[in-house]
Amino acid sequence: MSDCQSDHSDENEDVITPAELIVKLEEAWLNEKFSPELLEHKSEIVECVMEQIGHMEENLQRAKKGDIKANIHRMEIDRIRFVLNSYLRSRLQKIEKFFPHILEKEKSREEGDPSFLTAEESVFAREYLANTESYMNKVALKHMPPNLQHMDMLKAVPKPCLDTFVFLNVKERQENILVEHETDDQREYVVDLERGSQHLMCYRTIAPLVASGAVKLM
């Protein structure tokens, strides 16, 4: 609806239809599922979808029991909620897995740069760190000699591996995407990504394209 603004204010598409909104949510869901690192949060999309569902549920309260129309609407809402929950959950899973690095990245963020975490996720990440530290302390570290009681979470918890491979589908044509750097026995290896084509390649090289929406992971 008209109060749902697109998340990119620099593009000329200020208003998106509810149908487009659902497509964007599903894309965010799959991108988050398949990317090795936590992506920028899409809270505008989440909030708009929640609003849509809220409106719909309000209307449905007036529907009679056994109304086939209301039934169809409820089924649709259930499906959207599934995607929404799965999306948010996959973000929480990544936060639990990479919390020290995610918090570190937040700390070094320049003023004005967008945050990767929503306010709620940020609270969750900080609490998760505090709980893990106090747990480690209680069960193990406090029984160690004093000089060994410190533990650096940034070193103990592995970083997301950006060199992992991903499958992707191209939404906007891209030229000269670097596949491998120049080495002694090989020249620089670049490819063009045609619109609609599918590829298997390293995440690190195409991470900016996922962020900009030029490709989607699959």
């Binding site: 570290l141 060994l148 410190h150 533990m151 070193k155 918890v157 592995p158």
Partner: protein, 210 residues
């Protein structure tokens, strides 16, 4: 001395190598043949075979990877680490001929992980070792893939017997993908309650019986 409660063991080649990874911990306990290049004063009690106060220079002894890595320095000769047999030229030739005939579990079980770790110790053979373990992986890959994709719901212990730990992890991953698909195809793909929930229910039930 470092004030951290652990010596980080930089990665092997496992999927999730890290400080808390059991495979990485076990890998760091693999024993390596070493030769002391300097006297270890007052550590004689560690060497059961002699009753001297110090461990003299030139002593040959086995050390776990994590100790050897901690003591090893390129500039100051503290100890020399020998390449375990399986990475030496003789075995490299065997792997080169047909990597599939080797029982990597018996020879490993951390053939790839330990091999990668050995590269931390200076040796003119390092480039050959690195090349050999890469080629071994590539040479054995087809068999691991095929066996993991053709063994739905059957006993797989014979298939994985001769695989290194890393290969076993890959085999399991291949099986998981296949099994998930076949369960879906047969129509049993309903989401199941996690073990945690099931155990919790059992416990509740047990409590009620008291």
């Amino acid at each position: 001395m470092d004030t951290q409660s652990y010596l980080p063991v930089p990665p092997g080649v496992g999927k999730e190598e890290n400080f808390f990874s059991l495979d990485d911990i076990l890998l760091s306990h693999e024993r390596l043949p070493c030769r002391l290049e300097t006297k270890f004063p007052r550590l004689g009690f560690l060497e059961k075979s002699s009753d001297t106060r110090d461990i003299p220079e030139g002593t040959k002894m086995e050390m776990p990877l994590w100790v050897a890595k901690g003591l090893y320095e390129q500039k100051r000769r503290v100890l020399a680490v020998e390449l375990p047999k399986v990475y030496r030229e003789g075995w490299r030739t065997v792997f080169g001929a047909d990597p599939n005939v080797v029982d990597l579990h018996k020879m490993g079980p951390y053939y790839y992980g330990l091999g990668s770790q050995m590269l931390h110790f200076d040796s003119p053979e390092n480039p050959d070792v690195a090349q050999a373990i890469l080629q071994t992986f590539i040479g054995r890959f087809r068999r691991i893939m095929d066996s993991s994709q053709n063994a739905y719901d059957s006993d797989t212990s014979a298939l994985v017997e001769r695989l290194d730990c890393l290969e076993r992890a890959l085999f399991r991953e291949g099986q998981n993908g296949l099994n998930a698909f076949q369960r879906w195809e047969k129509g049993h793909a309903h989401l199941t309650a996690s073990n945690l929930v099931i155990n919790y229910r059992k416990r509740k039930l047990a409590d009620m019986n008291v």
